[in-house]
Amino acid sequence: MLRLHSVNRVYPLKGGPFFALRNISLEIKQGEFVSVMGPSGSGKSTLLHILGMHDSGWDGEYWCGEDAVHKLNVKQRFELHKRSFGFVFQSYHLLDDLTVYENLEVPLTYRNVPKKERESIVCDTLDRFHIVGKRDLYPNQLSGGQQQLVGVARALVAKPPVILADEPTGNLHSDQGREIMELFKALNTEDGVTIVQVTHSDANAAYGSRVIRLADGMLVG
């Protein structure tokens, strides 16, 4: 599903080039639940942003399904990104001025989903994540766990085949973190959503099917 071949991410610095990622080749199959682990500065988040097509300053080959990402122009990559990925952030990144309902609606408006259809999808999602009662609340009226639940719901609302999660439980206490990880597990096993998460926690990694380890920008296992 996602395949990298000899991918490098280099930042030109005054003292010489800095390799954030070096010669990365890996493959993530559809339906996998992969955890990316490694010490701080090892390149985990960089890898996640390259996979999520937020970062385009790399070289090498990147295949997303049948699409050769390295050959796509900016617009094509953007379209592919919208079609393929949902993103979950460590600090939730909900839009503070929008209600829960509106936060879930935003990705759909960017995908030109008609209003009627949007209503239906958002209501289904609220129902599925058991947050119907929170639909008119603003993010600052929710607990951290509830905000991340909305964050996961928002990542899924446009039904992407892949969820990329950057330390999704990093800002949550252990009970809330566990709930989120169980939700990921369920999404992976029941809905077949491919999940790639960056985590420092072995316990969280255990929810996944495979671990990719990075150190100093290189794959070490």
Binding site: H49, H81, F87, D96, R154, A158
Partner: protein, 816 residues
């Protein structure tokens, strides 16, 4: 739709920010809207008649008057007969009259004497009765008929539905009312609102020597209008008018010295063709100034938006991460700008009404009834919509484009976004420099207007304006013969001089700086220098002996006009030094003679006064002659009263004195000389209005620039809180911090002032050509304004800089 909803929510979420943006834009939009409103009313709006786009005005330039002026009636007739490119040509002449219903006291009113075909040319219909018809005639002797305007019918005749067929008294003569016009038509002169219309055949009743005016080719008094023939162009009409005028010049050379024809669209000849040469220049100048104010406002709002979008970086980053395109972000931010600008537009609409009302207090006023029923139309609405949208784009586009460039990875990782911050900062600095520079330009122009006004107000006018009260009346229109008029004048002077608080009183035919200019082409005897056609254009006033004392005019040589100068004694005059210098330079003018017009009586010079100002404040020395009223009758007349205290306090006494002598005589222009000077288009009014307009814009520009500077320094302080904390933790004093913070603001100010000085110098070149008494570079005004701007800018920077010293190092560092 969701963009709009979100935009509205954003506006309510930050009411302070929104209010500042709305008010900033509203000020910029309001001055533009007000100026456009004036231009729209006076220059753009077509007359409310069919084929308004084809209405043209014919005028002439001549050796005596270089600006476009009216045409003589015989010339009008020849033009009408000869020209094919202008159809339905008609002539009109506004005239004051005494109007009354039978058995009632007369009131002063203005009528338009017109060739009766005018109504057919414009396709006008009456609401009662009929309009004037060609059968009402152009030659004296036709039946006396009139058509009233709706306003006069309602206000003076109580909207009497039976008025058609009845007689009303005009100048003591019965005129049959044949119709009442529809309310929307108030005059053929766009800027006037008259009481009614009479055919030119009644000119003998309407004006002194009115019947003769229809035959004199040398009296250029009639406004001539018509419709461009279908398919004819303005250029073709100009060419044809030039040919006809050239022929007339050859046939009647004495009455056509260097006469050329002018054909212009009616809308370009408002309020009078005489202004048509410089009105566009004045409008362009003020247009440029108000545009600058709007540009400053937009730059300021741009700066605020930049700061705000920087604060919203997280939100915009998440939106992009969720799939928003750059265009979606730009659209979202522009929607917010548009909503704010729309609110600003509404505020500006009402603000411009208020500013307009303030300016109207300075508008010229006089005896002639100006049209005041102007209402806003689609042009004004379209303008405010378009300019508000432009302001939204002007203020919001750059910040939106900047904000839409999201560095997703850096921002999602919570990075500082250093390079982008620096870019923002550079742009904000450029905006502030631009604002300071443009503010200086607008302030300088206000300073130059004020300097010019102060120079003009400091001019020696040649007479004392304080303590002078005036009232005008017209005995001719009231049907007085000369014997009765003489009696009236004598009794009036006696009664007014006997009023408590009156020092002296005099009568004159011409009031300085009024709209009535007594002018003659004098023929001096044995001039010491050659004169073109042996003539000299002079100002001319008929006065009573007390005139010089009342006005405070000095006598240099000879004697004043005396009570002993009567109709039975030789004709005499007191002239001014400019007259003497122009005709008898280096010679004694006393005892010399001149004729006030060709073949006129000889008048002997008996006295010499210094040259004063008579018509316009900035005029060059104008030759002038005063003759006794007893030797040459005149109407209307003005009684001028020199008072010991406040002249306005004697107004009711003066009116009462007039009423006691003739309770039915309408008095008009009862005012003090200082009021007249303030409102006269020929005295201080243009500069006062210009100073006020430029001053208001200057203050707004200054406020906007100061807000911009304040915002930049305050933003810098917020951004550098950690740095300030560190500096203070390692021993920096309050003064060190203030200086460091001030440095940036003042650097921007100085660069802005430097650029503004260059632009102001260029503006000074233009203004020195149209403002009185200004050099090309008026150092005191420019230096004064620069110092003012620098001082206020220093204060604007100091306040947030001072706040920086209150940063607690511990708190600042912990926050990081």
């Amino acid at each position: 739709m969701s963009s709009l909803r979100f935009a509205i929510r954003q506006i309510f979420k930050s009411p302070g920010f929104s209010a500042v943006v709305v008010l900033t834009l509203a000020f910029g939009l309001a001055v533009n809207t007000m100026l456009f409103g004036i231009a729209s009313q006076f220059m753009l709006r077509p007359m409310d008649v069919p084929h308004a786009d084809r209405v043209v005005l014919l005028a002439q330039r001549s050796a005596a008057m270089k600006m476009p002026h009216q045409i003589s009636f015989p010339d009008f007739r020849d033009l009408r007969e000869s020209m094919k490119t202008v159809q339905g040509m008609f002539a009109l002449l506004p005239s004051a009259a005494h109007l009354s219903a039978e058995g009632k006291s007369p009131e002063r009113a203005w009528f338009e004497m017109v060739t009766p075909n005018a109504f057919q040319t414009f396709g006008l219909q009456a609401q009662l009765g009929r309009t004037l018809l060609p059968s009402d005639g152009e030659a004296p002797g036709a039946p006396l008929v009139t058509v009233l305007t709706d306003k006069a019918w309602r206000e003076r005749f109580g909207a009497d539905p039976e008025i058609v067929g009845r007689a009303v008294m005009i100048n003591g003569q019965p005129f049959t009312v044949v119709g009442v016009m529809r309310p929307e038509f108030q005059a053929f002169s766009y800027s006037m609102s008259v009481a009614g219309f009479v055919p030119v055949s009644a000119s003998g009743v309407m004006r002194d020597q009115g019947a003769e005016m229809l035959t004199w080719r040398g009296v250029s008094a009639f406004k001539v209008m018509g419709l461009l023939a279908p398919g004819a162009t303005l250029d073709a009409a100009r060419a044809e008018a030039a040919v006809v005028t050239s022929r007339l010049s050859q046939e009647y050379p004495d009455d056509h010295k260097e006469v050329t024809s002018v054909v212009m669209r009616e809308s370009q000849a408002r309020p009078d063709p005489i202004f048509s040469d410089f009105m566009p220049v004045i409008m362009a100048l003020f247009g440029a100034m108000v545009t600058l104010v709007l540009v400053i406002a937009c730059a300021n709002v741009s700066n605020l938006m930049l700061a705000r979008t920087a604060a919203r970086r997280k939100e915009l980053t998440v939106r992009v991460a969720l799939g928003a395109t750059r265009w979606t972000i730009v659209r979202q931010l522009l929607t917010e700008s548009l909503v704010l600008a729309a609110i600003a537009g509404v505020v500006a609409w009402y603000l411009s009404d208020w500013i307009g009302a303030v300016f109207m207090q300075f508008a010229p006023s006089g005896d002639m009834p100006a049209r005041t029923d102007f209402t806003t139309g689609w042009r004004d609405h379209a303008f405010i919509i378009v300019i508000s949208a432009a302001a939204a784009l002007g203020s919001g586009l750059l910040p939106a484009l900047r904000a839409s460039r999201v560095d997703l990875v850096d921002n999602l990782k919570g990075g500082p976004g250093g390079p982008q911050g620096a870019r923002h900062h550079r742009m904000r600095n450029m905006f502030v420099i631009g604002q300071v520079a443009l503010s200086l330009v607008v302030l300088c122009s206000a300073g130059l207007f004020a300097r010019s006004l102060s120079r003009i107000q400091g001019l020696d006018l040649g007479f004392k304006t304080d303590g002078l009260l005036m009232a005008s009346f017209d005995l001719k229109l009231q049907g007085y013969d000369e014997a009765r008029a003489e009696q009236f004048r004598r009794v009036l002077i006696e009664r007014v001089q006997a009023l408590p608080g009156v020092e002296s009183a005099a009568l004159t035919s011409t009031v300085p700086f009024s709209y009535f200019i007594g002018a003659r082409n004098a023929i001096p005897e044995n001039p010491g220098v050659p004169l073109a056609n042996d003539e000299l254009a002079i100002g001319y006033a008929q006065i009573t002996p007390e005139f010089f004392q009342t006005l405070g005019l000095r006598l240099d040589r000879g004697r004043m006009i005396a009570a002993s100068d009567t109709a039975d004694t030789p004709r005499v005059a007191v002239i001014n030094q400019a007259f003497a210098d122009a005709v008898w330079p280096g010679q004694d003018a006393i005892g010399r003679r001149f004729q006030p017009w060709r073949q006129g009586p000889w008048i002997e010079v008996v006295g010499l006064t210094p040259t004063a100002k008579y018509v316009m404040v900035g005029e060059p020395p104008r030759p002038y002659a005063y003759v006794p009223l007893t030797q040459e009758a005149a109407a209307p007349l003005t009684i001028m009263v020199r008072t010991q205290g406040d002249p306005a306090a004697l107004t009711s006494s003066l009116r009462a004195a007039l009423r006691e002598i003739d309770p039915h005589l309408p008095a008009f222009e009862v005012t003090t000389m200082n009021e007249l000077m303030g409102k006269s288009a020929f005295a201080f009014m243009p500069l006062r209005m210009g100073s006020l307009m430029a001053g208001v814009q200057g203050v707004i520009a200054l406020l906007l620039a100061i807000m911009g500077l304040y915002a930049v320094v305050a933003f810098g302080v917020t951004q550098r809180t950690r740095e300030i904390g560190i500096r203070m933790a390692i021993g920096a004093q309050g003064g060190d911090v203030v200086r460091a913070m001030l440095r940036e603001g003042m650097r921007l100010t100085l660069i802005g002032i430097g650029m503004g000085l260059v632009m102001s110098a260029l503006l000074g070149l233009v203004l020195s050509k149209i403002l009185y008494g200004l050099p090309a570079f008026d150092a005191p005004a420019v230096i004064g304004v620069s110092a003012l701007l620098f001082g206020i800018a220093l204060l604007a920077c100091w306040i947030p800089a001072r706040r920086a010293t209150q940063v607690n190092p511990l708190v600042a560092l912990r926050a990081e």
